[in-house]
Symmetry: D2
């Protein structure tokens, strides 16, 4: 399953989310953290105030994009 | 400011929120936690799976409802 | 496995934790939330500022204490 | 106040923390998030599984290190 809001770049799926403020960003991150933990697939993600940048790839596949990344991307989009 | 979605009972403001699941409930709680901490006014709150029960009153005013409780209630309703 | 720091009362395992402040309490709760979600077994828990009261029982077993509750209690004690 | 566990690099204070697992890392981040929000000074921080990389500088001072960064660094070290 592909989600076109994500960009493929350097063997990774990338997306940047912008929230109203830090509180909203971190509350979203908490929800996302549950999903990553449940799928046992964790993003590299960077937060700066109201912004969250996600970089997904699969370490066990030589840091390339696999179905696990598309699945995580889709799950995060449902939050 | 009054918010009619809250109920006055036993000298407390009460509200029960029901979420889709535990993850959604706890993400909301994380956002609410920032607000309580910022206002330096903390609810007594109980979570059971997808449910969050809030009980607000002011300890320093003999556990009665004060403007601080209405303010917190209003702030939580904006999440 | 029994953990003697927990008390059996009204068909539930109970424990009250007291933290330095609200921030410490909620950070612990976040860790605990991951564990509950992973074990798919969720406590009834109440937070008031620096205090967290846990009540564990198993809904599917008529709200009695089962091995699932002892397992969750043990996992929470390892945080 | 200086904290020598932080490194000055590219006009920023930097530190990398390694935790036991993702749950521990994110619980720490939740505590850190409260502190950043209370000080109204937010790090750029990146999490990958059990690792948290912090980059602190002051946007309003042209992205250089100020006392606000040392204060935040000290507060985070107390968690």
């Amino acid at each position: 399953m592909k989600n076109l809001t994500w960009k493929e770049e350097n063997n990774s799926l990338k997306k940047t989310l912008v929230f109203k403020d830090f509180q909203s960003a971190f509350a979203w991150m908490t929800h996302a953290a549950f999903i990553m933990e449940k799928m046992n697939h964790h993003a590299k993600w960077t937060n700066t105030y109201n912004k969250v940048e996600l970089v997904l790839n699969t370490h066990d596949a030589g840091n390339t994009i696999t179905q696990k990344d598309w699945d995580l991307a889709a799950a995060l989009d449902k939050i």
